[in-house]
Amino acid sequence: MTAALVGDELGPRGRRRVLAGSVAAGVVISGLVAIGLRRFAARGQLDPELWSILADPGVVRFLLGGLANTLKAAGAGMVGAVAVGTVMALGRLSRHRLVGWLAGGYVEFFRGFPLLLLILFSALGLPRLGVDLPLFWYLVLGLAVYNGAVLAEIFRAGILSLDRGQREAALAVGLGPGQAMRLVVLPQAVRRMLPAIVGQLVVLLKDTSLGYAVLYEELLRRAQITGAFDGNLLQVLLAAAAAYIAVNLPLSRVARRLEVRQRGRYGGSVEVRGAPEDLVAVQDEAAAAG
């Protein structure tokens, strides 16, 4: 670990300062927590009745149903996004100039504007254009189209990162170009890009909450409905936020662990300072915000 930027062993004065700093920070942090709690208490928001509604079987069932809807949309969206992403990545690498151009245009276009705009268009615009689907599919469509564009770039980077010799060797042993891609190149590329793909899954899971805007009954929308009904909106919303974090945190951890393992395998250690690999981690960071 970069056990503090100041890597060397601290002297007596340094240790005293760190101790003093820790105590001061501890006091300030607990002070802030106390102020926050008092705010809750002063407005009666710590009232056990408001919180105990969260344990009501009806409410729990309703919210879990919302979580299930969230996971369903995320799962279907991911399947669609992987399909779209594969097609677009291969299209972009195609030797036909027109195909490459179209796939490139798709990727650049759909990554450049907000996903919410796409979902609104899908859920509010398409029905007026004569497309009749359940609300769920409009959301999934938006998620798949957008994340497909993002995944296409991840897949493409994975394919390009492979040594050319892999494809050449595959062709040399008599495989056709399609077989070489399917049997040799893609499996390795996907494996190499696995951390980024899992990371994108977390992004997609978070993005399903945009379904809130089109009244799809995912977790957040259901939290709002039951909170408004029982008069404990803040409590239910905080519980929903906790549920999102409980689902996403382990997935993020898996993505990070995969990444650490990959770096061990393909050279470069995570802890090395000044390594260009750190910049790769940074690129993933930017992807996760979108």
Partner: protein, 214 residues
């Protein structure tokens, strides 16, 4: 395309709100990010834990949830802000976590000898960080920070959920009034692209300018 031209002033207004919102939130996010990154690389354990928890919680919570909790939940504890201020706060807090991780990764790219040299000159932690490490760290992550800025432009659309009349909500209103979804949404999507694509190009230029040659 007539719908777009007839409503050009409204679209321009929405675009203005989106741009202001993005810029204001970026200032907040950058400040939060640098402070939290400093906490995380610093020697004081409680601050390290605080920084790490902030990043973990915010990164794993959807932006929509943060918007809804702040705008619809927090009035219960007496925190009520108008939509624009709320949006700036929420977007700053959200993007700040990603900026913090980016800056921290940038700090890790600064060569070990830089810190050792600064230490042996007698600089204290804040001086090492502020005068030697951060300037180099920030220069090495200009590209990733730019991607975050571009993501912020797109994320500002989530302010739609709290009724802030920015570009996306404007588009939706016009589309619902005129029932012309395709031209309106295409026009507004192109307006977003007109913001995000030049940002990417400008960043490439800045990145090459400030790149550290090693």
């Amino acid at each position: 395309m007539d719908v777009v031209l007839d409503n050009l002033d409204r679209i321009a207004g929405g675009l203005g709100v989106t741009v202001t919102l993005t810029l204001a939130s970026w200032v907040g996010a950058f400040a939060i990010g640098v402070v939290v990154a400093s906490f995380r690389v610093g020697p004081i354990p409680p601050l390290r834990v605080l920084g790490a928890s902030y990043v973990e919680v915010v990164r794993n919570c959807p932006l929509t949830v943060l918007f809804v909790v702040f705008f619809f939940g927090f009035p219960s504890i007496g925190i009520t802000q108008p939509p624009f201020t709320s949006a700036v706060i929420v977007l700053s807090v959200y993007t700040g976590a990603f900026v913090a991780e980016t800056v921290r990764a940038g700090v890790n790219t600064v060569a070990r000898g830089q810190v050792e040299a600064a230490r042996s000159l007698g600089l204290g932690f804040t001086q090492v960080l502020g005068l030697v490490v951060l300037p180099q760290a920030l220069r090495s992550v200009v590209g990733p920070l730019g991607s975050l800025f571009s993501a912020l432009i797109r994320n500002s659309s989530v302010a739609y959920t709290i009724g802030l009349v920015e570009l996306t909500l404007t588009a939706n209103q016009i589309a619902l009034e005129t029932a012309q979804f395709v031209p309106v949404f295409t026009g507004v999507a192109l307006a977003y692209l007109a913001l995000t694509l030049p940002t990417g190009l400008a960043l490439g230029v800045i990145e090459r300018r400030v790149a550290i040659r090693r």
